[in-house]
């Protein structure tokens, strides 16, 4: 089983005629995703691999019944793209774009507050993938394997690292969610945990966090109280200096908050099996599952 995304999900790509958008739309289709069209304002009527390109998301929803959208537009236009998708009735949005102004995301978050039916993943994320079914975003499909572990991660390549190990450990993944590396994101760790909680076939979770903010702690407290299946965790940035942004806009230790050591200590206290090296994620999960 999976969460959020399966082979039936009707996906569109916003920015499908752009360089990134067209490349990854192609990859998504090749993986088996049910891509039903794309949107690029001004390019309506064109085709992308026989699929219709629309001028607006509204049109895509009307004409091809899209319910999910993957956004590959320049960061300056990304908030607009998210608002457009939400207004058109899209309920699952993966925003891959990196470099969206924080103030724009503040508005997006406020706008989504009274729309609990909308799940926004990202921005600045690799998207979602359900093995052998569908992917929205840029995760490489070949490292995934249908299985029982849910992956939630702030980082792209670290997600792949975890997926690869779960595949090699023969555990596989139910769904992988890259929640994104920005300070303000749609789906946070706790939301993702709650989403996986509803899926009986997900037997455990891998949670990959980073320095900055307290999103991991909030989820850990929830896990301690409600999530009874095994959870393996890793926090990147133990050697990161204070006050420096480590690539991801959200990965920064500021005001004495968000350092790795305190996150790791707290997560341990909440019963999460924390690994010191990302190379140990697969093995750690295997041990917990066998118990």
């Amino acid at each position: 089983m999976s969460v959020l995304l399966n082979k039936k999900t009707r996906v569109i790509v916003q920015g499908i005629t752009g360089k990134e958008g067209s490349f990854h739309a192609g990859q998504m289709i090749d993986y088996g995703t049910n891509v039903v069209g794309g949107v690029t304002p001004g390019k309506g009527g064109q085709k992308f691999r026989k699929l219709p390109v629309f001028n607006s998301v509204e049109e895509a929803v009307l004409k091809v019944k899209a319910t999910a959208s993957t956004i590959f537009v320049p960061p300056s236009l990304a908030a607009d793209a998210i608002f457009e998708a939400v207004d058109a009735g899209i309920t699952l949005i993966a925003c891959i774009s990196e470099g969206i102004p924080v103030m724009d995301m503040l508005r997006v978050k406020q706008y989504l507050k009274d729309k609990p039916e909308v799940v926004l993943v990202g921005p600045n994320c690799p998207g979602l993938l359900t093995p052998n079914e569908a992917k929205m975003g840029i995760m490489p499909g070949f490292i995934a394997k249908k299985g029982v572990i849910g992956v939630i991660s702030r980082s792209g390549t670290l997600t792949y690292e975890a997926m690869d190990q779960l595949t090699k450990a023969n555990l596989g993944q139910s769904t992988c969610i890259g929640i994104g590396g920005d300070p303000i994101i749609g789906t946070q760790f706790i939301d993702a945990v709650k989403i996986f909680e509803k899926d009986k076939n997900t037997k455990g979770l891998v949670v990959i966090g980073e320095i900055g903010g307290d999103n991991e702690e909030i989820a850990a407290a929830y896990i301690k109280k409600y999530y009874k299946k095994p959870v393996v965790g890793f926090i990147a940035g133990q050697t990161a200096p204070k006050g420096k942004r480590m690539g991801h806009a959200g990965a920064i230790i500021s005001g004495g908050k968000g350092d790795a050591a305190s996150k790791i200590a707290f997560m341990k206290k909440c019963g999460i099996k924390m690994v010191k090296s990302p190379s140990d994620i697969g093995e750690a999960m295997l041990k917990l599952i066998k118990k």
């Binding site: 995760m139 490292i143 792209g156 390549t157 690292e161 990161a240 690539g247 005001g255």
Partner: protein, 389 residues
Amino acid sequence: MKVHEYQAKELFGKFGVPVTLGKVATTVEKAVAIAKSFKGPVMVKAQIHAGGRGKGGGVKFCKTVADAKKAAKAILGMKLITHQTGPEGQTVNKVLIVPAGDIIEEFYLAALVDRATAKIAFVVSKEGGVEIEKVAEKTPHKISTILIDPVIGVQGYHVRKMATVLGLKDKAHKKQLYITVLGLYKLLVEKDASLLEINPLCITDKGLEALDGKVDFDDNALFRHPDIAKLRDVKEEEALEVEAAKYSLNYIKLDGVVGCMVNGAGLAMATMDVIKLYGSEPANFLDVGGGATPERVAAAFKILLKDKNVKAVLVNVFGGIVRCDRVAQGIVDAVKKNKIDLPIVVRFSGTNAEEGKAILENSDLTFEMADSLAEAAKKIVKSVKKGGK
């Protein structure tokens, strides 16, 4: 993006925050002339992008013009070391000279975007003029956070709360606080700032006033604020980091000996962590990003080797969209071109990892290969320790 105190204060002034502006000098002569023009005691303040300047000797109270001259002489050109500059310090190229008034009380006031709630947070404390990090650590109850929902903006009750925290009694001071908070809020939202800080916010004989100013801007929003982008002072930034940015590489210099080249920010951090776990220290953070072309890999190599502390290089690439064979070609080219003779450990995984390994193995250069990040870290630490002794 950070800006200088004098630039922050100018922005404060434009948004109605009560502030005494002063003037900037790059030479002692100019500083003296400015001090003279103020006809009274002044503060001479080093302009660098780091806090804790006073403690490091970069801020001086000067009663007379002669004092100001002495202070400017001492501060201009000095290597100012504070808790935020790192041990090598930061060269002072500019001083700000401001008329000094009598300070009655010092507070702390900051505004920032709160990540968890996606609201604007105002941080207020009666403990001003000191390192707020220390106040937060030792006496957290002395710091209050007031969250403002952007839907409603600054309301009277927010400011009344802040005034209570600060213990303001005087009506004029309360009004000035309202104007200050309103100004900061507008500046934050309209100019896409990520942090505004006034430490100290003072009551002087003239009333409430921002005696210092710090502003950080959201780099991602600079495209829509050309006026703000102009305030950038690249001299304040690490030269290698500025150069790396030209190639869209994310590079941060650290103090260790293992140079790292990784794709993805999270994996890059994890690579640093694992190097430390196995007993060495990373020399840098370097994310070559999603589009790691041979050219970018070559540029990355050039930049990380400019750091003379680097004794060995660890390449860790998990190919998703990035193809390991293309990265391998970039490595071979860079090593040949720059005649690098440091030990290099390469870990490839994912897309075309085998092809990448083959390229490295078939080159006439020596690389150590590793299958996992842990193995790569072990190997690099071993070679660093061997080389170091």
